[in-house]
């Protein structure tokens, strides 16, 4: 199949914007809605490469993914690989950079309480937009598109990804083509983060569509992003071409290809032979990393993700109701073996559900120690007596349970085997009950039908630590709740902290609130945290510009800045 590289005029990228004029402005602000201000401006380097980006887009990058992106409407339900593609085709109002700062994209400046963008009570929002952004078909981007996008999200017939936060938006007013106002029903600070993940869609194309859930747009999307839609071969690859009229920095690549390679061993092999230039989600398997680092002509990046690998107990299930049991089980986990041996030392040990790079991370949490003797002592003292088979029992409840994870994940399956052995030593009997992803995350997970699950979860909402849907008492689906508190955790103190945190716009205060929350969760051992996950990505030598970003779901977030040296 012939590919269609765009025909470029000379000097198409005449107006590259050199960074964000407002960076310095919001750096000076003390407390502002959701910005993390601990990192100095110089750390926000523009390009780390030795060579400079070319004047004209040049070359192509083949990015390998182990899951196939299939959703190209950025407001519909999509997973991380889909979002990776959305980053190229579409733009949000602003995004979060690796350091945690909000950076304007389609907006001209980040709205804050101090610059009047957000009213003091958090209810009135006034956003100023860029006037030079263009859709891929040449039409100008205006505030009408923002209104249309937000209205579409709240359209009851539209199969939107999520209305969290958006449903609070009322009375959207297009004041000028480059300014939009709206009113929030109640103050909700995480909305800044939510908007950083919300891409804008074109009104002039989608308003004519009869079915918002199904239209030609879905497979030939038009956005304001750095790359325009090229072609797609289902089950094989997606090809994107550079958008010369892009309003931001870049793009420096003529073409970006997202290649679907379902098997991780094969993905690594294709990287080795140079058939792909970049290995994205889910990265290079831990057992290949050592070898990968020695490959000539390739650079390996090991970066943390926001996902925390933990054992999720069903807090209403038999033995897990007792906090002592949870503590004993936690002490009997050989985290060092799991991290160093099974995961080749790549991820980092953690006690919190917040990633260590986040502004809300609480470093002062009790540290885990692998102490089976202590675990045994705790259980003995609490009255859990060993039965004839060696399994502990108390009040008719046996210390036995199943643990589930997605089948086919080698490292997790090995972790389970190790847990079985270590926990048997303290009188706990664990049995494996693995199932494929489509099954385990269905009712089994959602309706809390599990005993325990070995899972990695990104608790953050973008960069925001509001975990009400995960730990709030009213968020348990099995009890009719609205969120995904599948652990069935109930603690009024936690509810109080969560409510306060979501109302608060002052950063320093939020930090304290969420710090206390992490202490509470850790003391209650609502989850048994293992480590903060990492992803190992490989880039071919000569490819510059790659920068991991823990605040986005995909490290493809800045492909517009990639170039061949």
């Amino acid at each position: 199949m012939a590919d269609e590289t765009g025909r470029f005029g000379v000097g198409a990228l005449g107006h590259l914007t050199p960074g964000n004029p407002n960076r310095r402005q919001f750096m000076l602000l003390g407390a502002s809605a959701g910005a993390a201000l601990t990192v100095p401006a110089s750390a926000f380097a523009q390009s780390e490469g030795q060579a400079n980006p070319p004047d004209k887009p040049r070359g192509q990058v083949i990015a390998a993914l182990s899951q196939e992106p299939t959703v190209f409407h950025p407001l519909m339900p999509g997973i991380e690989v889909d979002q990776g593609v959305w980053w190229q085709i579409f733009s949000p109002l602003w995004f979060v950079d690796p350091a945690g700062h909000f950076v304007p994209d389609l907006a001209r400046e980040i709205p804050t309480i101090d610059n009047g963008g957000i009213s003091a009570d958090g209810l009135t929002w006034k956003i100023k937009l860029r006037s030079d952004a263009k859709w891929h078909d040449g039409t100008a981007f205006t505030a009408e598109d923002v209104k249309f996008s937000l209205d579409l999200i709240n359209n009851p017939d539209f199969r939107v990804l999520s209305r969290v936060g958006h449903r609070l938006v009322k009375d959207i007013k297009v004041v000028a083509p480059d300014e939009i106002h709206w009113r929030m029903e109640s103050p909700y600070s995480p909305y800044m983060s939510i908007l950083s993940l919300t891409c804008m869609v074109p009104k002039h194309i989608l308003e004519k569509v009869s079915d918002p859930n199904n239209s030609p747009f879905h497979n030939a999307p038009v956005g304001t992003g750095p790359f325009r839609w090229g072609e797609r071969v289902p089950g094989d690859h997606i090809l994107l071409n550079a958008h010369t009229g892009y309003h931001g920095k870049g793009p420096y690549l003529e073409r970006v290809v997202f290649k679907y390679i379902p098997d991780l061993t094969v993905l690594y092999t294709q990287f080795r032979t140079g058939q792909v230039d970049y290995t994205g989600i889910q990265g290079i398997l831990p057992n290949f990393v050592q070898e990968a680092k020695t490959l000539r002509g390739h650079k390996i990046f090991v970066s943390s993700t926001a996902s925390v690998e933990h054992i999720a107990p069903n807090l209403e299930f038999g033995p897990f109701v007792d906090r002592t049991v949870r503590e004993a089980l936690y002490h009997a986990i050989n985290k060092k073996a799991i991290i160093d041996a099974l995961n080749y030392g790549l991820p980092k040990q953690t006690e919190s559900f917040v990633p260590q790079q986040a502004w809300s991370f609480q470093p002062d949490l009790p540290q885990h120690s692998y102490d089976p003797a202590k675990a045994n002592a705790l259980l003995d003292a609490a009255g859990w007596v060993r039965g004839a088979s060696g399994i502990r029992e108390k009040g008719g409840v046996k210390l036995e349970f199943t643990n589930s994870t997605t089948s086919g994940n080698a490292v997790r399956e090995q972790t389970q085997q190790l847990l079985i052995q270590d926990w048997r030593a303290i009188g706990a009997a664990m049995r494996v009950n693995d199932m494929p992803a489509a099954v385990i995350w269905g009712d089994f997970w959602q309706q809390s039908k599990f005993n325990s699950v070995l899972v990695g979860v990104n608790f953050m909402l973008g960069s925001d630590p509001d975990v009400t849907p995960r730990f709030g008492s009213g968020a348990t689906p099995a009890k009719g709740g609205r969120g995904y508190n599948t652990y069935q955790y109930q603690n009024p103190e936690a509810d109080r902290l969560l409510a306060e945190g979501a109302r608060q716009f002052d950063l320093a205060q939020r930090k304290v609130i969420y710090g206390d929350l992490q202490k509470l969760i850790r003391n209650d051992l609502a989850i048994l945290p293992l480590f903060q996950s990492s992803i190992t990505e490989g880039v071919k030598e000569g490819l510059q510009g790659f920068r991991p970003n823990i605040n986005t779901s995909s490290n493809c977030w800045n492909m517009r800045e990639w170039y061949w040296a």
């Binding site: 057992n287 050989n334 086919g408 080698a410 494996v432």
Partner: protein, 291 residues
């Protein structure tokens, strides 16, 4: 000559078959290897100092002959030889039982369909077609909906994917043999239907049946690996040659013995069953000329 020659000619059919079998050296070798494998799997674990599920995380990926572990250790430090033997119990059992179930169902369905033809034959063969319409993964889905994965369910699943081919082949053969002289003669002779089916027709269709059976054992052992690849199969920590092969995939270059051990075991088993099958066919088929 004389009396001795007469004696040798008047061997009972069973003894004659045994003699023919014995002359087939490869078949004898195959049978011997299978016996060794079965005995090894059954009794071997008692002779080894290592447990097949004991995890020794510090001694993972020990190469063969590097220490106390003859075949080395796997990704969790478990003894490969112990797992190979325990796995052998599972895989050989699955291979044989699944094959027997598949053959039994397939021969029955095929013989009845081929012999009677007409409505019964059509209904039976359409049943075969119907089950054939569902790809293996789909049957897996069906089973997953009803049961939890395990030894019995995996065996049933594998048999369920194999019996249709047997039925098809048997039906075609029986249908063609039905019109042959010996069959017509048997009918004229007054033999009952069942007798004709299973004494005259099926034995004459032995050749493709035996080939089918030996191929089925091979397929069954390998299908178990495929089934664990799809997430069902024998659950850890239990070992099977199939799931050992599966787990060894990502360590192909770093720890090749993890794949070689079960791979060679499977090859030996499959090859032995094949030669055994050859010998059986030669022994049981009265028309075969043994050079």
């Amino acid at each position: 000559m004389g009396a001795a020659a007469l004696q040798s000619v008047q061997l009972a059919p069973g003894q004659a078959a045994w003699q023919r079998f014995r002359r087939h050296r490869l078949a004898v070798a195959g049978a011997a290897i299978i016996v060794i494998l079965v005995l090894g799997s059954a009794f071997g674990p008692y002779l080894l100092p290592f447990d097949d599920t004991y995890i020794d995380i510090m001694r993972r990926f020990a190469p063969p002959l590097s220490g106390a572990h003859i075949l080395g250790t796997d990704e969790l430090g478990r003894d490969v030889l112990a797992r190979l033997m325990m796995g052998g119990r599972v895989s050989i059992a699955i291979g044989i039982v699944a094959m027997i179930i598949a053959m039994a169902v397939g021969i029955l369905v095929g013989a009845f369909a081929g012999f009677y033809g007409g409505v019964l034959g059509a209904v039976l063969m359409r049943l075969v077609d119907a089950v054939l319409c569902f790809p293996a993964i789909f049957l897996l889905l069906a089973l997953a909906a009803l049961t939890e994965p395990g030894l019995m369910t995996t065996t049933v699943l594998i048999a369920a994917t194999a019996w249709m081919n047997v039925a098809r082949v048997v039906e075609a053969q029986v249908r063609s043999l039905r019109e042959r002289e010996f069959a017509v003669a048997a009918v004229a002779f007054g033999s009952s239907d069942l007798r004709i089916m299973f004494r005259e027709l099926v034995p004459n269709a032995m050749a493709p049946i035996v080939v089918s059976a030996t191929l089925n054992v091979a397929t069954a052992i390998l299908l178990e690996s495929y089934v664990s690849y799809l997430g069902y199969g024998i659950q850890p920590p239990a070992a099977s040659w199939g799931n050992m092969l599966n787990n060894a995939q990502i360590y192909l270059t770093s720890a090749p013995w993890l794949a070689l051990a079960p791979g060679i075991a499977i090859t030996l088993a499959v090859t032995s069953f094949n030669f055994l099958g050859d010998g059986l066919r030669d022994a049981l088929d009265p028309r075969m000329n043994i050079p």
